[in-house]
Amino acid sequence: MAVDEQREHKWLGKSVKRKEDERFVRGRGNYLDDIKLPRMLHMSILRSPYAHARILSIDTSRAEALEGVVAVVTGELLAQHNLAWMPTLSGDTQAVLATDKVRMQGQEVACVVAESPYIAHDALELIEVDYEPLQAVTSPQQALEAGAPLIRDDKEGQEDNRVYHWESGDLEATDRAFAEADRVVSLETFYPRCHPAPLECCGCIADVDPATSRATIYMTSQAPHVIRTVFALVAGLPEHNIRIVSPDIGGGFGNKVPVYPGYVVATAASLLIGRPVKWIEDRTGNLISTGFARDFHMKGDLALTSEGKMLGLRVKMLSDQGYAYADAQPSKFKAGLFHLVTGSYDLPAAHIVTDGAYTNKAPGGVAYRCSFRITEASFLIERLVQSAAYEIGMDPVEFRRLNFIKADQFPYESATGFVYDSGDYERALDLALEQIGYAELREEQKRAREEGRLIGIGVASFTEAVGAGPSKDYDILGIKMFDSAELRLHPTGKAILKLGVKSQGQGHETTFAQIVSEELGIPPEDVHVVEGDTDNTPYGLGTYASRSTPTAGGATALIARTLREKAKRIAAHLLEASEEDLDWDGERFAVKGAPDRAKTIQEVIFAAYTDLPEGMDAGLEGVKYYDPPNLTFPFGTYAVVVEIDRGTGQWKPIRVVAVDDCGVRINPMIVEGQIMGGLTEGYAMAAMELITFDEDGNCIGSNFMDYLIPTAWETPHFELHETVTPSPHHPIGAKGVGESATVGSPAAFVNAVVDALAHVGVRNLEMPVTSDKVWEALNEAGLAQ
């Protein structure tokens, strides 16, 4: 399974134009709300205005009386069908519609099904709910205090608001490292709650046909196959009668992995009414109730020798999980892959203590391009490393270099149990420093300070772990995290490739076609890629956590190679030669030493249906389920230069240089698009994105006036560069890349702003680093103008 390095790449590494863009730029995409079925009804959700309240009564009679209303669904009705609660992807439970209490603002309380979306919406105002407000729990610290209101009183044996306590690493070795340390540097920081905010909100059309008993559910889902299984398990529908179709999806970022109450109620309503039911979530519904991101309170301690060598790392993390533990994360680890917090550094010992707490907020937790909590881990270590460098009087870059895992240490086993596949961190760092002109910038920073200007240079050298996964560690509700590819070669040499993953904008229709092209010599325009329909694609776990190329990409290359083997046998028959005498040149099988005696792949495929060797089955197709032996570990260095306005505290990125190493790049243009998107989101989190709550648990950040995402105006210009260190175990040497920039870049931006103020002792500014926070720091340091 080693990387095929014998031949020069013909189709890998080519920026083939995205096949899917033809329909998107013409406005001919097919998104959920574009789908209209005959006799379709519309559903709207009534949400709780309170963060924590007992439901005394719900009166739906006035809503039911409104002309055009077909049904009003409440938790009580669902409870009769045992559907008032559903399992989360982390094995907890979450309410579909509230029965006893509401536990967050925006929680689903009732649904109206009506002939038009307007009537459904109008009727919501006619539902009367009598609430008894209860004290809201709005922080994990408050949640874990003695006497805090018990949020999950529905759960037997749940006596406090603790969700989990989980430790990782070697406590004894870490204690020893700290005992031997000359110096300990600490940093406490908070990675605030933010939201993936995909352009398209969530939605579904449930069509349970009473005549056939088949449930066809069109759904904005990143993981349609898993959803089908969950529906079979939860609703008790026979799995062969459930068909989940994910049409074109307008962004997911992890937000569209979980099962949301709207999907379940629409399906139940369609089952009960016998007509298709459409639910389209509005922006506020999306921002306040669906999978959020982050909300980790973190503290890191670094044990160092007097020379600056890292001896050990201690981390404590407290997570705000919302009212349900609903992280859509597939590992057996309680805090996802947060224990990758040792990052790019050769840390002999590490110990991590994590606690999760229930609060009166939306559940979710891992969404937003975060690689199952590596975003938080990477942020903490990259911020901590910079602080430590200042404290010991070293340049942050030299401190990183001193402590990097070296190129010859791979495969490298980390103190918390990961085996990093490959890397060359110093090469990526050096390229970033060279491109940004680091040495000159440090000089310029000095001169600027003398002139009264504040310039900061921030660096982050991240390591990612993506591509879940090896099934020994990763599963969703027991389902192993393999992925699949089914390849059919048709008589005229054209291919259909069906995958278990599902693009939400990542360009799968092009990238995966290129893998087939590379392996079989069929040009990408002759490969049609199908995803997102459970009736018509092999079982897979979906697209999130940068896993599609590491898993389904591997499956695609391997099934193509299997078909090539059969094609070779057919070619031998056609050329009247033995298989051993044939060479594959990327497009043709030719007889060794007689290159004129050759058959193109298209000729061979035609023969698979017309002229087969004796005893061989016709056709050329197959399915591969690929369980990768390990995660892949992309890495890189981001370097950012900022200048601060001393009058207002505003800061502005002047340059952003990104060096990414994601192994072999299949389509460099698509990879760069992923990186630019991720850098934009990284900047967004560093600068403005925030969902916060007042003391009553009211969500602030429930629309795009309060929840700020950057426009083209603020988004910095990005300078992209690359190094290539192939993954040794992936069939084409590729690593995942979808989340690298979101994971790695927030720390680079924050590090840059802090660096501008480091000379006056500033060590931390909390995200989002808004101008008022910077002004306060300037003011304290006497630098404000």
Binding site: G647, T648, G649, Q650, M688, L690, T692, I700, M705, D706, L708, I709, P710, T711, W713, E714, T770, S771, D772, W775, E776, A784, Q785
Partner: protein, 269 residues
């Protein structure tokens, strides 16, 4: 129509305030009176030494206007900083003024420029100076049956300078704080000064004491700092997610200084 239907009728010009209110179900008028096809309301021109801005003049038109760029830079700069291009394409100057959002930029920029609103109702036409037009958040001296048909801005004189500086968290956001400054000079001294503040009070505010302190003075560093301090005192901001009251007041001071400094070069030029 407004007289007959009262609160049940709303005027639609650019729709950038009304449509969000409808979408959020904060307003549900039975009648929307679309004035977009009334001829003659889109004048943006100088007449009798002053500027006329008709009820259908879009913010985008002001942003692109060479007349405003050359003669009324405060208005040109304000226009370019209002919300985002899509909203500027539709939103109107008069609609923004009549809506009277304390976070609106047009009110304070126009107030600094000494503008007045022309209102027309069943009783005829009257002129309302903007300096006492804003009564509270979304409240003006306009009668329920009156419509703003035009804004008039006095000519800036031969030597004048102006600027509109806005701090926003992101393009499209309302101002954390913004300051509009307009000064006219005669014989090297300040003949008229206007300072309008955005986002730091229950209405667009006019920093009257700061204006008065400037009139008759030379625009030197002492005058600038003194006026900036008075403008900061005139601000009455609230702490919120955009920043503390103290921070916003500070930004008013810094922006007043910067806007005045930018205008100082025009005294003799």
């Amino acid at each position: 129509m407004l007289g007959e239907r009262g609160e049940d009728a709303k005027i639609l010009s650019g729709g950038q305030s009304l449509i969000p209110l409808l979408k959020l179900r904060f307003a549900s008028p039975a009648v929307v009176v679309d004035i977009n096809r009334i001829a003659g309301l889109d004048t943006l021109a100088e007449e009798d030494g002053g500027l006329r801005i008709g009820a259908l003049v879009r913010t985008k038109t002001c942003e692109l206007s060479e007349l405003l760029r050359d003669r009324y830079p405060i208005l040109s700069q304000a226009a370019a900083q209002i919300s985002d291009p899509i909203i500027r394409n539709l939103g109107t100057v008069c609609g923004s003024v009549a809506h009277a959002d304390p976070q609106g930029d047009w009110g304070s920029a126009l107030m600094a420029a000494g503008a007045e609103a022309v209102a027309r109702g069943p009783g005829g036409e009257r002129t309302l100076p903007l300096s006492d037009f804003f009564q509270g958040p979304f409240t003006t001296t306009l009668e329920p049956t009156e419509v703003v048909t035009e804004i008039r801005v006095p000519g800036p004189g031969e030597r004048s300078g102006g600027a509109y500086l806005k701090l926003e968290r992101r393009v499209g956001d309302f101002a954390t704080a913004a300051v509009g400054v307009q000064v006219s000079f005669e014989a090297g001294k300040i003949a008229r000064a206007g300072i309008g503040l955005t986002g730091v009070g229950a209405t667009n505010l006019r920093a009257t004491e700061a204006e008065q302190a400037l009139v008759g003075a030379e625009l030197d560093e002492e005058a600038i700092q003194g006026a900036a301090e008075l403008a900061a005192q005139a601000a009455d901001p609230q702490s919120d997610t955009r920043g503390s009251a103290e921070y916003k007041r500070h930004v008013v001071r810094v922006f007043t200084e910067r806007a005045l400094r930018a205008s100082a070069g025009k005294a003799n030029g």
